[in-house]
Symmetry: C2
Subunit: 225 residues, 2 copies
Amino acid sequence: MTTYYGEYSKVLVSVDCIIFGFDEGELKILIGRRNMDPGRGLWSLYGGFVSGNESIDDAANRVLNQLTGLSNIYMRQVGAFGNVDRDPGERVISIAYYALINVKDYDRSLQEKHGLQWISINDLPQMYSDHNIMVGKALKMMRRKISHEPISFNLLPELFTLTQLQKLYEAVCGEKVDKRNFRKRIKDMDFIEKTDQIDKSSSRRGAYLYKFNKRAYDDAPNFKL
Amino acid sequence: MTTYYGEYSKVLVSVDCIIFGFDEGELKILIGRRNMDPGRGLWSLYGGFVSGNESIDDAANRVLNQLTGLSNIYMRQVGAFGNVDRDPGERVISIAYYALINVKDYDRSLQEKHGLQWISINDLPQMYSDHNIMVGKALKMMRRKISHEPISFNLLPELFTLTQLQKLYEAVCGEKVDKRNFRKRIKDMDFIEKTDQIDKSSSRRGAYLYKFNKRAYDDAPNFKL
DNA sequence: TCAAAAGTGTTAGATTTACACCCATGA
DNA sequence: TCATGGGTGTAAATCTAACACTTTTGA
């Protein structure tokens, strides 16, 4: 192999995943206890090293798939974290990604296998290395994005009630929303379609189920919640 | 040295800088012809490799300093670019940064030394590798940020007229702004202070010069342009 | 005296917010 | 029959957008 760039130093590159889920009215992330040295036993994001023949996005997808069994997970890059001493073991530059999954789709056996837990973002422990900073940045980016792009649907089942959707926004943004105003805005979004199905699981009366119509969104892709 | 992480593959990591400047009423970036193989002679961002004992932010600062002679340049990370074949020479993961500088502060001799040119963002050539994508993302991020945070001042001299500031916003966001509405909004921002100095260089009548008061901003750090 | 940029307020329309009651149902 | 969550409209306040003329001064 021709080396064009002489002897510049090479470093380990990893990806770390902030996996968001919406459960019990709270926004949570999936974290576990680190099972290698250094830092064994500390709370940590789940991650993995980028191998020589995969892109960083591929690496993130691979890690997410290992962890959840799911493919085509909605995922966005948070950024690169590269302080020299960020990892006490060895120099590692890490690229953080956040992902949104529907908790109900998530395979419980994999959760146990990896020893992971859903922890509310309001109740996060101190984590390994700079992982708290990664989560902070991911959350900030996701909050901004969820108000302008239809990504909330990745956190919900395919069919959802307006109350569920509202609770989700409240959990993500950390503030209550007026029910009537919220529904008014949803009505203006033609890409959130009312179905004729009714969910009776959370009230006696039952609530209409809605779904996201991607095609309709692509035609008129603008909103502000 | 203890190796904790076994034999995962290591890769070259570089930083690439998108240096924005405001000149002749246009938003421009500083690019040059690549002076190494592969891709010699192609238009390219200026970059450099991250060395073993510096953080990625330090690397970006070093590269920016080499290029401009300036320190403490306003700079933000755009993100990591890590397709396997993004660099035809060898696997390189690159972290893009954008920076804002005042063109007038910029040392012309360094510009010539590095063979760089200011090119309007409306008139960008095809560039090496994924550099056009980096610029696109940087621009998008910077546009969003400039409407909510006082970063425009990094592109202007310490003292500036409201017309200059307005032209800057127009150049960055790519759309005209109503002069009276613009000035009304500026008046509401207590951290943009009118001085008693007058600039006569661009009109017979002269225009008041303003300056950014960081301290006042930190007290009341909110606006939306 | 005139060209060229600086500076200045008002009003209509649109958007946002606050707010309270009836409905349907199963237990 | 009642407790629970589902569903609905209006009015005041705020914000946004459109718009045109006077001022100053050097050439």
